[in-house]
């Protein structure tokens, strides 16, 4: 009984402000005749119409697929490259200016080059997302590989661990916290790249939906698109957080113990 009560208060503490804000939006926008701020009630009505399920399947799903595949490709490429560069310091040092340059490239400045090479279809969108997510993860992976504790390296050498076992049980797990930190940055950049590529690329997807609604002055539809985008961005981040919590459970325990010892 008291436990449920505690859970309820905990949830209430986190939710009261968001709920209040949405309520305020509802109340303030009710009866609004402003072009830009249509009543929230109207938006929610249209939301149900539009997104269950026609545009969910036509626009939201393709967007998510592009995001997941682009981010996935970027992640895989970055980790493999990062393991190589992290293990060969001379190569890493030589290529550092190039990598820094790639990371500094704002995704929007990439669009002309990508569109020139790959057109405006899915390829361009997915590869742009992959490209954007690669560099922050790559740099962090290198950092992570370098930060492997020298004592553990000696353990690996002393117990004659083979190359594969060293990578699988030592280097990759040790670099994982850093890899995830990079991936979190990369994820939000991927979402931006997804929206950008869809705005300039071939029709379809959430970015296109929002921009197209605006062009046709269907502001209510545009608002529903924004809400969907917000939900997807939030869901992506939460999913990522869950995966991170699972993979890095050891890390939290480990650092906590270290802090306690201090």
């Amino acid at each position: 009984m008291s436990r449920t009560l505690r859970v309820v208060t905990a949830v209430a503490r986190e939710l009261w402000l968001p709920v209040l804000l949405v309520a305020a939006w509802w109340w303030l926008s009710a009866g609004s005749t402003s072009l830009y701020w249509p009543p929230l009630a109207e938006i929610t009505d249209r939301f149900v119409d539009l997104w269950f399920f026609e545009h969910l399947v036509e626009d939201a799903l393709p967007s998510v697929i592009r995001l997941v595949s682009g981010f996935g490709i970027g992640f895989a490429v970055a980790v493999v490259l990062g393991l190589v560069l992290g293990s060969v310091p001379a190569l890493e040092d030589a290529t550092r200016p190039l990598v820094e340059f790639m990371r500094a490239l704002p995704s929007v400045a990439l669009l002309p080059i990508m569109m020139l090479l790959l057109g405006t279809d899915d390829d361009m969108k997915v590869i742009t997302i992959a490209f954007v997510s690669t560099w922050p993860i790559l740099l962090n992976t290198v950092e992570g590989v370098r930060s492997v504790d020298p004592v553990l390296r000696q353990v690996a050498a002393g117990y004659r661990l083979g190359a594969w076992h060293r990578i699988r049980y030592l280097v990759v797990p040790a670099a994982m916290p850093q890899i995830f930190a990079g991936a979190r940055v990369a994820l939000s950049m991927s979402v931006v790249a997804m929206v950008l590529t869809e705005m300039v690329g071939s029709p379809g997807g959430l970015g296109y939906f929002v921009l197209d609604s605006q062009r046709t002055f269907d502001i209510v539809a545009m608002w529903t698109g924004l809400i969907v985008l917000g939900l997807i961005g939030y869901a992506a981040n939460k999913t990522f957080g869950l995966v991170e919590a699972r993979v890095l459970a050891w890390h939290r325990g480990h650092t906590k113990q270290k802090e306690d010892q201090r």
Binding site: R13, E14, E100, P106, P112, I113, S188, M222
Partner: protein
């Protein structure tokens, strides 16, 4: 071969040579690509790009548009910090405030603010305000979040030291509180700066009337790939310079912090 003198050279020289070699390799690959598979789409070679870069560097249009983009980015960043920092500090100072805003902050930082561009375009048209609003809406989150972390990072032990030695309020702020928080605030600033540049150029590209993003769009529309390349590179260089400025600032301000002392700040 010629490896022997290189091996005996001081490490700094060797490093430079290695980096130049890597750049050279990249240029050769680029050149071969532009000549081969890329030639049909008008992909410029490195030399051609350099030529157009030299041409453009002689025009005032190029420089004034860069200045516009940089100004927008910096102005936006300044606004984001002015708004975000106090909010972040307030939130961080109070556990209840932290909990109540958790969801909003989580939401704010992941929602792609770029998607709001169409709305802002309607409201503000192709003006600088468009870019500024977009920057503030997207860059304010990392500032708020990092500032709120920063408050939690002031160690209770240092607080007690301050009390035990009866430091004045100003001295506590100057010598204990500010230095403890600065590393975290800095992280937020760096993220916000990167976002600001991206959003400045994006807003020009998607709905502006001047700036680097606008030049980029124009070049693309008239299919001037050579210029488009130069603009893309310029954008990346701006990003690099911005990053460099932050690294240098960090070294000056946070020279005592482990991340700087190790020489690993990048």
């Amino acid at each position: 071969m010629t490896r022997t003198p290189l091996r005996t050279a001081p490490p700094g020289v060797r490093r430079l040579v290695n980096r130049l070699l890597a750049l050279l390799v990249a240029f050769v690959v680029w050149h071969l690509f532009a000549r081969g598979p890329g030639s049909s789409s008008g992909f410029p070679t490195p030399l051609e790009s350099m030529e157009s870069a030299v041409d453009l560097a002689g025009t005032s249009v190029y420089w004034s548009n860069i200045a516009t983009s940089v100004e927008t980015a910096l102005l936006g960043l300044g606004l984001a910090v002015l708004i975000g920092l106090p909010i972040g500090l307030l939130i961080g100072a109070d556990e209840r405030a932290r909990r109540s805003t958790q969801l909003i902050l989580d939401f704010g930082r992941t929602v792609p603010a770029i998607a709001l561009l169409p709305l802002f375009l309607l409201m503000f048209g192709a003006t600088r305000s468009l870019g500024l609003v977009l920057i503030v809406v997207s860059a304010v989150w990392p500032v708020i979040i990092q500032a709120s972390y920063a408050v939690g990072e002031i160690s209770p032990q240092l607080r007690r030291v301050g009390q035990a030695y009866h430091l004045t309020r100003w001295h506590r702020l100057r010598y204990l509180i500010a230095p403890s928080m600065l590393p975290f605030v800095f992280v937020g600033l760096r993220i916000a700066a990167t976002i600001s540049l991206l959003m400045a150029i994006s807003s020009e590209f998607l709905g502006g009337s001047d700036g680097l993003g606008y030049l980029l769009l124009q070049a693309m529309q008239i299919n001037d790939t050579h210029r488009a390349f130069v603009y893309s590179f310029t954008a990346a260089l701006l990003g690099l310079v911005l990053n460099l400025v932050f690294v240098l600032l960090q070294r000056r301000v946070l020279w005592w912090h482990p991340s700087v002392r190790k020489g690993g700040a990048s």
